[in-house]
C-alpha cells in the first residue's frame, strides 16, 4: 500500500491523522484530500486507506460513525480523538527530526 506509492512505512497513518485533524471525514474524502494537498504527488492505492484506518480505530486514535454526506449518501466518517492528537504530534515530531537529519546528510559536502 503506502510502500507501493513510495511512502515510507507508517507514514500513511500520519497523513490520515493530519487530514482528519481539522474535521471529521469519510474515506473517499480523506483520499481526495491527501491527493490534493500533495498536488497529486502521493497517489496511494486508495483501498489501502482502509487497513490503515482499521489500525487507527484499533489503537483508539480515531472514532468512526455513520453520517449523511452533503450529497445525501450514508458515509462513515472518522474523527480524531484526544489520544489521536497526541499520537499525531509525536509522530510529526519524529518525522520532522528524521527528515531534518536526512536532509542534513544529503546537503553535506
Amino acid at each position: 500500500m503506502p510502500r507501493a506509492a513510495g511512502l515510507p512505512p507508517g507514514t500513511l497513518s500520519l497523513l490520515i491523522l493530519r487530514v482528519v485533524r481539522q474535521e471529521p471525514m469519510h474515506g473517499y474524502a480523506i483520499a481526495q484530500k491527501i491527493r490534493t494537498l500533495s498536488s497529486d504527488q502521493l497517489s496511494v492505492e486508495e483501498g489501502s486507506l482502509y487497513p490503515a484506518l482499521q489500525k487507527l480505530l484499533a489503537n483508539g486514535w480515531v472514532k468512526a460513525e455513520w453520517t449523511t454526506s452533503e450529497t445525501g449518501r450514508q458515509v462513515r466518517s472518522y474523527r480524531i480523538t484526544a489520544r489521536g492528537l497526541k499520537q499525531l504530534e509525536s509522530e510529526q515530531d519524529d518525522y520532522q527530526r528524521m527528515a531534518d537529519a536526512i536532509a542534513a546528510i544529503l546537503q553535506s559536502t
Partner: protein, 850 residues
C-alpha cells in the same frame, strides 16, 4: 477504552464490523472515476482484519478443524492415540485422586486441624491404646488444653437373638458424633445428654450395614436388635459420609458408658491394667500439639502419683490429624511410597507421550509435500509449527477427557475391590481436572510441539521435487525419534522390574506364611473378660475347653495365645536396641509352636512355672545381638528384664506383608486368660473345625464363642497386596506393550520408506538375514541404549525399594532373569516381526509397481 478491550469488543461484533467495512469500501469504489485503482477488496479486507490482531484465531480455528477432520478420517489412529494418552495421563490422575482422598488429607472431621490421637509413651516404647480410667483422669485434669476427649473401643460382638452372627462394633464415648460433626441419616445419633450409663441402651447402625444387612429398611429405627444376646433399641442410622478415624467404620456404634449392660462383669471401665481404648481429643483453641504434650506431662505425673500402673516417666504422645494421626516416620513412609508411585506413573506418561509423539511424527512425514507447498506459498516455519501443534490439540483433548474417565473408573474399581469405606468420595474434583489439563499441555509438548518443530526444521520446499522422500528419510533418522524409542524401552524395562519386585513381595508374604501353617488351622475366640471370667476362673475355663477340643478326633493339637496369627491385634514396640524394627509381642502356651508349625531353632518351648522368660524370633536375635546364639542372655539387651530360653524361626504371623517386624513370645500369665484366643490344628480340614470348637466352648451359657478357619483371615489380609501387585503387573505389561507398539511403528515406517531400496537389493540377490540386519540396525541402537538405561535405573530403584520404608522384595537372579527374558523376547519380536512381514511380501513386486 483499553486497547485490549477494544479488540475483544471488535471480535465479539466482528460480523457487523466487517459488513460496515465492505459497505464503506464499496461506496468508495463506486465514487471513483477509475475503480481499478482502489485495489483488491479481499486482500484489503484481510489486511484490515490483521490490523485488529485476530487473524491467528481464524488460522487456529481452521487448523483445529483440519485436525478434527484428519482424526475422523483415521478413526483407528484416533482411538489408539486416545487410549495411549488416557492410560498415560489417567494413571497419574488416579494416583492423585486416591492420595488426595485417602492419604494426605486429614479425615473429614469438624475442626479437623485441632484433632489429635494420644499414644501412651514411655522411654523406649509406645503403645497405641490406653486404659479407660486414664482417659477419664485426663479428661478431668488437662489444665484446659483439651476441648474434648473422644474414645473408641473396637470389638467383635455377636448379632442376632441367638448370636448366630458376628459383627464389628465400636464402643464409643457418647459425644462421638457431636464432636466429629456428623448426624444421623435416620433417627438420632448417640448423645452425651441422653445416653448416660443408666439410660436405656441403644445402638446406632452404620449406613453400610443398614443398607447391606438390614435392606435399607426405613422402619429399622426404634426396633429391637440383639447384641451379644442382649436386647437393644436402634436409635438411628449414621449418615453415609461418616468418616472413621482410621479408615475403619464399624457396623454398629454403642455407648461405651453402657458397656456394663452388655457385660456386667467386665472391668474395662474401671481397670487401670487394660490398655483398651483408642483416645482422641480436640485441642482447645490456640493450643499447639507440642504445648498439649508438655501440659499433659503434669497430668500423667499426677496419675502416676495416684496409680501404680502409670509410671512416672510416661507421657501422652499426641499425633495430629493434619498428619492423619501418623507418627513422623509413618508419614515419611507414606510420602516416600506416594513419591515413588508418582515417579512410576510419570514414567508411564513419558512412555505413552513418547510413543504417541513418534506416531504423530510418522504421520507428519507423510505430509511433507503438502507442508512444502504451504511454505512455497509464503508460510513461515513458525506458521507450520503452529499448524501442526494445533492439529494435535483435538488428540490431546480427547486423551485428557479419556484420562478423567480412566481415573474415575480406576479409583472406583480399586475402592470397590479394596472394600474402601463409603465416605471416601472418589468423584472427580476440580484439582484433578486442573491436573488433567496440565498433563495434557505437557503431553502436547511431546506429542505436538517437538514433532512439529522437527518437521518444520527440514527443507520442506525441496520435498515438492522428490515427493518428500528425502525429507521423510531424514525425519526417520532424527535423534529425537531415537530418543523417543530409547525412552519407551527404558521406561518399560524399569516398570517391568518394579512390577516383578511387587509380585515377589506378595510371594514373600505367602512364603512367610509358610513359616507357619495356617492352612489346617482354625481360631476360637471368646473374650471371657466381658463375662466376668478372669484370672483363675478364665484359665480354668480355657483349660477345660482345650481338653474338650483335644479330645475330638478331628483335632491334632491346640494352643492358647493372646493374638492369633493373621487376625490378632498386638502392641508394637520399638526397642532402643533395634530402632528400625517393630517387635510384636504375643503371649503363648507351650504347644503354640507345635500347633502353628513354627520350628524352634534352638533352646526349648515354655514350661509350666516359667517366669521372666522369652522366646525371640531369629530376626530379633540377629538384629539385637548379631547372632542367634543367644540362649540364656538377658532381654532386651539394654534393659535386661528377662532371659531368652529359645529362638524360633521367623514367622510373621501378625503382619505377614510387612518386612520390618520381628516376633517376641512370652509365657501366658494368669491375667492374660480374660482375653486370649485358641488356635487349633486339624487332622484333616480346617473348615470342619469351627462348629466343633463352638460346641466345645459353650459350657457356660453366658459365653458366646466364635470360630473360623484361619485361611479366611489369610485371604482377607492378602487382598490388598494382591490387588496392588496385579495393578503393578498390569501397568508393567501394558507399558511393555506400548514400547513394543512404538518399535513396531518405527520399524514398519522405516521399512515402508525403504521399500524401493529393499526391492533393488532383493533383485540384486541380497539374502534375507542380511536385509533383516540392515532394517533392524537403525532401531537396534536406541533399543539397546534404552534397555541399558532402564537396567541402570533399575539398580538404584531396586535398592531404594528394598529398603525402608518400602521393603519390596529384591528381585532374585532367577526372577530378574525371567523379567529380562520376557522383556527381551517382546522387544525382539517387535523389532523383527514388521521387517519379516515386508520381506515375506517380496519387495520386488513393489519395485515393479513403482
Amino acid at each position: 477504552m483499553n486497547t485490549w478491550l477494544r479488540r475483544v469488543w471488535y471480535l465479539l461484533n466482528r460480523p457487523r464490523h466487517e459488513r460496515d467495512l465492505i459497505r464503506e469500501m464499496n461506496e468508495h469504489r463506486e465514487s471513483m472515476h477509475d475503480p481499478s485503482r482502489f485495489g483488491d477488496t479481499h486482500r484489503l479486507l484481510e489486511q484490515s482484519r490483521d490490523a485488529w490482531g485476530w487473524n491467528w484465531l481464524d488460522d487456529a480455528v481452521q487448523d483445529l478443524s483440519v485436525g478434527i477432520r484428519t482424526l475422523m478420517k483415521s478413526p483407528s489412529f484416533a482411538i489408539l492415540a486416545t487410549l495411549i494418552l488416557s492410560f498415560g495421563i489417567g494413571l497419574n490422575l488416579t494416583l492423585f485422586q486416591m492420595i488426595g482422598v485417602g492419604l494426605l488429607q486429614p479425615p473429614a472431621l469438624k475442626d479437623a486441624d485441632s484433632w489429635v490421637r494420644f499414644l501412651r509413651a514411655a522411654p523406649g516404647s509406645t503403645t497405641s491404646t490406653v486404659p479407660y480410667p486414664l482417659t477419664q483422669f485426663v479428661k478431668e485434669n488437662n489444665h484446659g488444653v483439651l476441648a474434648s476427649v473422644v474414645l473408641e473401643y473396637q470389638s467383635a460382638v455377636a448379632w442376632g437373638r441367638n448370636a448366630e452372627d458376628h459383627i464389628n462394633a465400636s464402643f464409643v464415648s457418647s459425644n462421638w458424633f457431636d464432636e466429629i460433626g456428623y448426624g444421623a441419616a435416620h433417627g438420632r445419633v448417640l448423645s452425651e445428654t441422653i445416653d448416660g450409663p443408666a439410660a436405656a441402651p441403644v445402638v446406632v447402625i452404620s449406613y453400610t450395614f443398614w443398607r447391606n444387612r438390614l435392606g435399607a429398611d426405613p422402619n429399622a429405627v426404634g426396633t429391637t436388635v440383639y447384641i451379644d444376646r442382649k436386647p437393644v433399641t436402634v436409635a438411628g442410622i449414621a449418615s453415609a459420609d461418616l468418616p472413621g478415624f482410621d479408615f475403619n467404620v464399624p457396623d454398629a456404634f454403642l455407648a461405651i458408658v453402657q458397656r456394663e449392660y452388655f457385660y456386667p462383669q467386665s472391668t474395662l471401665l474401671r481397670s487401670w491394667d487394660d490398655e483398651a481404648v483408642d483416645m482422641y481429643a480436640r485441642l482447645a483453641p490456640g493450643v499447639s500439639v507440642a504445648a498439649a504434650r508438655e501440659a499433659l506431662r503434669t497430668t500423667m505425673q499426677a496419675a502416676a502419683a495416684d496409680r501404680s500402673q502409670i509410671k512416672k516417666d510416661e507421657w501422652l504422645e499426641p499425633l495430629s490429624a493434619r498428619s492423619n494421626f501418623m507418627r513422623d516416620w509413618e508419614r515419611q513412609g507414606v510420602l516416600a511410597v506416594v513419591s515413588l508411585m508418582g515417579a512410576l506413573t510419570t514414567l508411564v506418561l513419558i512412555v505413552a507421550a513418547a510413543n504417541l509423539g513418534n506416531l504423530v511424527m510418522s504421520r507428519a512425514t507423510g505430509r511433507v509435500r503438502e507442508l512444502g507447498v504451504r511454505m512455497a506459498l509464503g508460510a513461515r516455519r513458525t506458521r507450520i509449527v503452529r499448524q501442526l501443534v494445533i492439529e494435535s490439540v483435538p488428540l490431546v483433548l480427547m486423551g485428557a477427557l479419556g484420562s478423567l474417565g480412566f481415573a474415575w473408573t480406576a479409583a472406583t474399581l480399586i475402592a470397590a475391590l479394596g472394600g474402601f469405606p463409603p465416605y471416601l468420595d472418589f468423584t472427580i474434583k476440580w484439582g484433578t481436572v486442573m491436573l488433567a489439563v496440565a498433563l495434557g499441555l505437557l503431553s502436547l509438548v511431546v506429542v505436538g510441539v517437538l514433532p512439529a518443530w522437527k518437521v518444520a526444521q527440514q527443507q520442506l520446499i525441496e520435498a515438492i521435487k522428490d515427493g518428500g522422500q528425502h525429507v521423510s528419510r531424514a525425519l526417520d533418522r532424527t535423534l529425537m525419534r531415537r530418543v523417543m524409542v530409547a525412552a519407551q524401552v527404558a521406561g518399560s524395562c524399569l516398570l517391568l522390574i518394579v512390577a516383578g519386585m511387587m509380585i515377589r513381595t506378595v510371594q514373600r508374604a505367602i512364603a512367610s506364611s509358610e513359616g507357619f501353617d495356617y492352612q489346617r488351622a482354625a481360631v476360637l475366640s471368646m473374650p471371657l473378660g466381658r463375662y466376668g471370667l478372669k484370672t483363675e476362673a478364665a484359665r480354668n475355663y480355657w483349660y477345660e475347653v482345650k481338653a474338650r477340643v483335644l479330645a475330638h478326633p478331628e483335632v491334632e493339637s491346640a494352643a492358647i495365645v493372646t493374638a492369633p496369627p493373621l487376625g490378632g491385634r498386638v502392641n508394637e514396640t520399638n526397642f532402643r536396641d533395634t530402632p528400625g524394627l517393630r517387635t510384636l509381642t504375643q503371649s503363648v502356651d507351650p504347644e503354640y509352636f507345635d500347633t502353628m508349625k513354627i520350628p524352634l531353632m534352638s533352646g526349648r518351648t515354655f514350661a509350666p512355672g516359667d517366669e521372666r522368660t522369652v522366646i525371640v524370633s531369629r530376626r530379633l536375635a540377629m538384629e539385637m545381638y548379631g547372632s542367634i546364639d543367644v540362649l540364656g542372655r538377658a532381654f532386651p539387651k539394654s534393659g535386661a528384664d528377662d532371659t531368652i530360653i529359645g529362638v524360633a524361626a521367623d514367622a510373621h504371623t501378625i503382619r505377614p506383608d510387612a518386612n520390618d517386624v520381628a516376633e517376641l513370645y512370652r509365657p501366658l500369665e494368669v491375667a492374660d486368660f480374660s482375653y486370649v484366643e485358641m488356635v487349633v490344628r486339624a487332622r484333616n480340614e480346617a473348615d470342619r473345625l469351627p462348629p466343633i470348637l463352638r460346641e466345645a466352648a459353650m459350657s457356660d451359657p453366658r459365653v458366646i464363642p466364635s470360630a473360623h478357619a484361619m485361611h479366611e483371615d489369610f485371604d482377607r489380609r492378602m487382598q490388598g497386596p494382591r490387588i496392588a501387585s496385579a495393578i503393578a503387573s498390569g501397568i508393567g505389561v501394558l507399558t511393555l506393550a506400548l514400547a513394543c507398539l512404538g518399535i513396531i511403528g518405527v520399524v514398519s515406517y522405516g521399512v515402508a520408506l525403504r521399500t524401493k531400496e529393499i526391492g533393488i537389493r532383493v533383485a540384486l540377490g541380497a539374502r534375507q538375514p542380511a536385509l533383516l540386519r540392515s532394517i533392524v540396525r537403525q532401531v537396534l541402537r536406541p533399543v539397546a541404549a534404552g534397555a541399558i538405561i532402564g537396567l541402570a535405573l533399575a539398580i538404584p530403584t531396586g535398592l531404594a525399594l528394598a529398603s525402608e520404608p518400602f521393603y519390596l522384595e529384591n528381585a532374585d537372579p532367577v526372577a530378574f532373569g525371567v523379567a529380562l527374558t520376557v522383556f527381551g523376547a517382546a522387544i525382539a519380536a517387535a523389532l523383527i516381526w514388521p521387517a519379516m512381514q515386508v520381506l515375506k511380501r517380496n519387495p520386488v513386486d513393489a519395485l515393479r509397481h513403482s
